[in-house]
Assembly symmetry: C2
Homo-oligomer: 147 residues x 2
Amino acid sequence: MASTRPKPRKLSSAKLRSAAFRRVRADHQSELAQDYVELIADLIDERGEARGTDVALRLGVANATVVKALKRLQDQGLVSQEPYRAIFLTGDGWKLAEDGRRRHKIVERFLLALGVSAETARIDSEGIEHHVSRETLAAMAKFLTRN
Amino acid sequence: MASTRPKPRKLSSAKLRSAAFRRVRADHQSELAQDYVELIADLIDERGEARGTDVALRLGVANATVVKALKRLQDQGLVSQEPYRAIFLTGDGWKLAEDGRRRHKIVERFLLALGVSAETARIDSEGIEHHVSRETLAAMAKFLTRN
DNA sequence: GCATGATTTTAGCCATGGCTAAAAAAGATT
DNA sequence: AATCTTTTTTAGCCATGGCTAAAATCATGC
Ligand SMILES: [Mn+2]
Ligand SMILES: [Mn+2]
Ligand SMILES: [Mn+2]
Ligand SMILES: [Mn+2]
């Protein structure tokens, strides 16, 4: 049996800290996909279909940016589309969208319950939602039931 | 006088939504600088100086990544350094660091007060801090004084 | 059914933030 | 002082996410 390195009694402060930053970077990796599928799901529900142009308008980016991003999402198996046609979500895409909606809703309602304006809750939750762990989300949900 | 477009009675839903995404993108733009200067300030306070290597270790990225980022921060007037030497914060750098520390502390303590573990508060706050508006921060601070 | 106008995609640019491998500088050892 | 080891920087690669301008496609009116 190979000799094993002794397990450190305590995680070094540097290790601890880097874990947090790694998590943030991972969150940001999945953020774009999450926001896209959530938005696409909303458009499909509200208007029957999601067009690239509507996505661009609502994200506040150029059309070309959306086209490129959608290609990546298609490679990731989250959306399907043909040129000049509306965008569809795959099964995985819908799953991710639903999950995002659920988390987003909890965060936004939580901020409202905390006493901020509707405007601020809407805006801040758009960024915060991606950094809320399962544990924190549960704590927010609990707070909501008690208020 | 040129004719002016009539002011819309209500902001369109698309405009409203894109404003939130624009804010998130702006937050992410300033995030890296904020985390760097905060970390550098901590290192200076705790150990007397901040070395690039320590920054890399604590951020969990490669050394080369830090070297490049520090160059950008230098261009932005937030840090000053000479090759093979420790990193210093400029006046602006210290201001940004202090501001970041303050916000970070409030967010972390707020999560703790909400009932999540110390570990989770530490990790989640690292991402959330950058998306908390002045109004939400104030609401969190208020919650803290009442608990 | 074709011309023309509007929409959408493609092409290609840029900055950021990550990486590894090679080069250079600093620091230790003898 | 010269060498050898360790640390730090440089060079150069890649993916992402943004943009504008040009090309391609679609759709409409005639
Ligand atoms: Mn979001
Ligand atoms: Mn974020
Ligand atoms: Mn911070
Ligand atoms: Mn942070």
